[in-house]
Every structure is written in structure tokens, then in C-alpha cells.
Amino acid sequence: MKIAVLMKDVPDLVEDLEVEDGALPLDEMSFVPSEWDDQALEEALLIKEEDGADVTAVAVDTGDVDTMLYTALAKGVDRAVKIVGDFSRSLTNRQRAQLLARYCQNERFDLILTGVQAIDDLDGQIAGLVAGLMGIGHASVVRDVHVAQDRVRFVQEYSGGKMAEFDLACPALLGIQAARKPPRYVTIAKVRQVQKSAEIDEVEDSVGETPVVTVRRLYKPESGGHAEMWGDDVETVANHIVAILEEKKLLRG
């Protein structure tokens, strides 16, 4: 079974997002791997451990994706591939999906896993876009992926805790919500070690025409309301909570 994991990095939400002239200053921000792609990577590695699959981590070179790909190698993927070209941080998901779909089509993967979503996919999730462009069977909000010969079995989450188990012929693409286990951790020392011994393969490509949506502006939402804030002193906060529950007659005894 030949598996691809499509990965991307996204702005780190730990940092305050400052909008400048209606856009994010992407070149000045720090990026982290999208958390759902990390889940997809973990699920692929679990499948590999279960069934001996060959796993390739794939990313589009929109900045510094090397650390993300070396980390994937350190975690256990067989190959890391970077799609290189004249791509900026502002590459749209639609453009990214076009590049990824073309690469996956050429490589004839049996199974493609990626995160169910990312925090920045305003113009569509990579999972659906790539599957649609490739015209292959797909599902999102997926967990518990197992493979058998040329088929893949998985659980799709509906809403309210209801789920369904499906069986799908390969080639297939799944948008992973969560891996069976929390993503494994590798030390920076191990990543550095891999950096010395392994290489990231590069595949050149360029972006063709894709449908666009015009973003008029990006801004901090004016919320309909905001909580009345009690500060950060635990004693004060605890007293406030007790008082408000008492006032609303929600305390026992």
C-alpha cells in the first residue's frame, strides 16, 4: 500500500494575529504544522506499523517546510517530498490543491491522507479539493483507518456522536479528524540527526489557473458581545463564580 500524507504549515495561533491593511503579514509570522495534518501523519504511521505500508509526506514549498518534513521523516515516513516552484506564503488552498493533486496523480498513491481541515482554509479544505480534482473516492471527518489489500476501512463521524463505518476501494483520499493515538513526539535532536542523513526529494511544478475568491479584507471580528472580565486572581475569580451561582440560586445546600 502506497500512502501519501499531504501536509501544510499554518500561522501559529499562540501568537497574536495582527492584521495590516486588511491582510496578515504572513512573511513575518511563525508557522507550525497544521494540527490535523499531524493527526493524518500519525494515522498513516499506525497503518504502516500495522500493514507495512510505504508512506510519503508531501508539502508545497511555501516557506520553510523542511523542518516539518524532516520531523515526518524522524517520525517514520519513508520519503519526504517538497513541491518546489515560485510559491509564496499567500498561495491559496485551491492552488495548493492543484499542485498536490497533480503530484498524487503522477505518483499513483493507493491512499492519500490529510487533515480534515486547517485554520486557514477559507477557499475550501485540501481533502475535498484534491479528491475532487483527482476524481477519486473520498470522505472527511474520518478516524480509525485500516487497510486490506486494495480497500480501506474507516469510521466517519456524523454529528452528535453518531458515526458510520465505511469500506472504500482505492485509490482513496481521507480527511482525518483524529488519529487512533495522539501524534507521536520526536526530539529536536532526532530531527537534527535525520536532517544530516536523509534528504527531502524535490519535485518542480507551477501553478495554473484556478477559480479565485476575492478577499476584501481580513479583520478581527467585532463580537456581538464580550464577557465581563474578572481578571486573573484565582481567589477573586472563585469568589465571583460562587456569588453569581448563589445569585442565580444554582448552588446546592
Partner: protein, 318 residues
């Protein structure tokens, strides 16, 4: 002129509330840009469920396999329906929306806008407002009325409940499938507590940091006479069962008190708890979106707060 098409979901044989919200918006937009409204529904109950909706046309795919959502079949059915002139497709941002929205947009070479929370007309242009970056930012996006898919976060605007009598059309679905549904797994409420019945929920998120700290939340919930619930990351880490999860893929709750501890308030979580009577949020990040829906908030350390609050409550009871 093509339709504004709403892809409706059915729950227990009736059109879901998020789908009804989309029909209301489709009609509002349609009146302004002179487009008819159509609704699509899947499964054996679809014809009955759709026949009184406020739409000009209703397309139903009656296949028994679509009594529950089936990604491959639903996509094929929707692509068949889209053979009819369509300018804009609205889909709820549920599992179905996550599945169908982007892939159908890609297959049709249409534009797509995800995580929409509002749609309005500005002159001749449809403008969507979307939540991005975990709800920390909003984007204002122009939606071309020449073929586009918009996935909408449930609860973004109310349904007006208007009724109508659409012209009904039956659409066939393909029979040869690559995807088989082996079984439906019902929600496991019976195996654990039912958090939807709790008056008070102590809900924990990533801020709980370690499963050992859950004991602090359990003690606090006990002192309050409530239950412990959580956001998605706590379930994914395997620290609490899925039955405790609040949000889009978990339970929708409406307790008297929702104490959100260490929960940032991603849109998927807010979807499941924003209608609680009283929301008190504690999060170290003063900019966390949870504070936008909470009535009261604090930036205190939740791990320090929980035992102190428990002690005060116990002392008061004793």
C-alpha cells in the same frame, strides 16, 4: 438565471435546523439578485420533508442507502442535481458540508468559500463573511454568482420558518458504488453520563494539560452537582470518552451553567454550547474567542482555580 441551491440534511425524517437557516438566506438573497431557490434532499424521507419548504424547486434522491449520509452516493446525487442551472450552492458546514463542499467545487471548477457566518448583497455582489484562524479573524469574501459553493456554520442566522410548495423533482442516483457503508454506530450515550441532561457542566479543554488534572475537574463538578464535559482535543488525546464531547462532532448542550475551563472557543466548539443560559469562561489567553460568547470571563490559571473554587463550594455547603 440559475438556482440558489440549498443542500438540506434530514434528521429523523425532518429537515435539520441548519438547513432551514440556509433556505431562509437563499430566499433572502434570491429576492435581491433575482434567482429562484431550490433545495436538494436525500433519502426515502426526503420527498415528504421537502414538500413544504420555501423553495421554488425541490430535488429529491430517494435511494434507501441515503437514509443515512453516504459520502460517495450523496456526491454523485448532488452532481446529478447540478445538471440543472445553478449559480450558488449553500451547504451546512457539517460532515456533509466538509465532504461535499470542496470536492463538488473542485469537480465543477467553481469557487468555494468555507466557514461562512453571514451572506449579504453589496450592489450586485454576494459577500460572505467567514470565520478563519480558529475564529480569531473574520474574512469578507466576494462570492461569484456564476457557480460557487459556500459552506455555512450552523446557527449563523435564524430560520424564518416560512413554508411553500416547491415543484418536486425526483433525481436518480448511481447504483455502482466503490464505497460501502458497513454499519451505523449510534451515539454512545448509554455507556456513560448524558451531558445534555446536566444543569451544570464543568467543561475542560486543552488547558487541562494532563489527564491527572481531570480529577480536579471531577471534584469541582461534584461540588457543583454537575458533570464534566470537554472540547475535542481532550477526547482525541484519549483522556475522556466521546460521550463527554461538546461541539460540532459531539453533543449540543444547553445547561443552566457552562463553566468553560481552558477552552479557547474554536467555532466547532461554540456551535455546541453557545446557547447555554450562563457561560463562564476561564482561559489564560485574553483574546480567546470563547470570551465573545461567555457572559463572564477570567484569565486566571484554571489549574489553580479549580481546587480553590471546589473548596469554597464545599465549605459553603458544609
Amino acid at each position: 438565471m440559475g438556482h440558489i441551491l440549498v443542500v438540506a440534511e434530514l434528521e429523523n425524517g425532518r429537515v435539520s435546523d441548519p438547513s432551514r437557516e440556509l433556505i431562509t438566506k437563499a430566499r433572502e438573497l434570491g429576492e435581491q439578485v433575482n434567482r429562484p431557490v431550490a433545495v436538494a434532499g436525500f433519502g426515502p424521507a426526503a420527498a415528504d420533508a421537502l414538500q413544504n419548504l420555501d423553495a421554488d424547486d425541490a430535488y429529491v434522491v430517494k435511494d434507501d442507502l441515503l437514509a443515512e449520509y453516504h459520502p460517495e452516493l450523496a456526491e454523485a446525487a448532488l452532481l446529478n442535481i447540478l445538471q440543472n442551472p445553478t449559480d450558488l450552492v449553500l451547504v451546512p458546514n457539517t460532515t456533509m458540508g466538509m465532504d461535499l463542499g470542496a470536492s463538488v467545487a473542485a469537480r465543477r471548477n467553481w469557487s468555494m468559500v468555507a466557514y461562512c457566518t453571514d451572506l449579504a448583497i453589496d450592489g450586485e455582489t454576494v459577500v460572505a463573511r467567514s470565520q478563519v484562524y480558529g475564529g480569531k479573524l473574520a474574512a469578507e469574501v466576494e462570492v461569484p454568482l456564476t457557480g460557487a459553493v459556500v459552506t455555512v456554520i450552523p446557527g449563523s442566522w435564524p430560520s424564518d420558518g416560512r413554508r411553500g410548495s416547491p415543484t418536486m423533482h425526483e433525481v436518480s442516483a448511481p447504483s455502482a458504488l466503490n464505497m460501502t457503508r458497513r454499519r451505523v454506530i449510534e451515539a454512545d450515550a448509554g455507556n456513560d453520563v448524558d451531558i445534555t441532561r446536566a444543569d451544570i457542566l464543568v467543561s475542560v479543554g486543552r488547558g487541562i494539560q494532563d489527564p491527572d488534572n481531570l480529577e480536579l475537574a471531577e471534584e469541582l463538578a461534584a461540588a457543583l452537582g454537575g458533570m464534566v464535559s470537554c472540547s475535542r482535543p481532550v477526547v482525541d488525546a484519549g483522556w475522556l470518552p466521546r460521550s463527554r464531547q461538546v461541539g460540532k462532532s459531539g453533543k449540543t448542550v444547553k445547561p443552566k451553567v457552562y463553566l468553560a475551563l481552558g477552552i479557547s472557543g474554536a467555532p466547532e466548539h461554540l456551535q455546541g454550547m453557545k446557547d447555554a443560559d450562563l457561560i463562564i469562561a476561564v482561559n489564560s489567553d485574553a483574546n480567546a474567542p470563547i470570551f465573545d460568547v461567555a457572559h463572564y470571563g477570567a484569565t486566571a490559571d484554571m489549574l489553580e482555580l479549580m481546587p480553590i473554587l471546589t473548596e469554597k463550594l464545599q465549605g459553603r455547603a458544609g
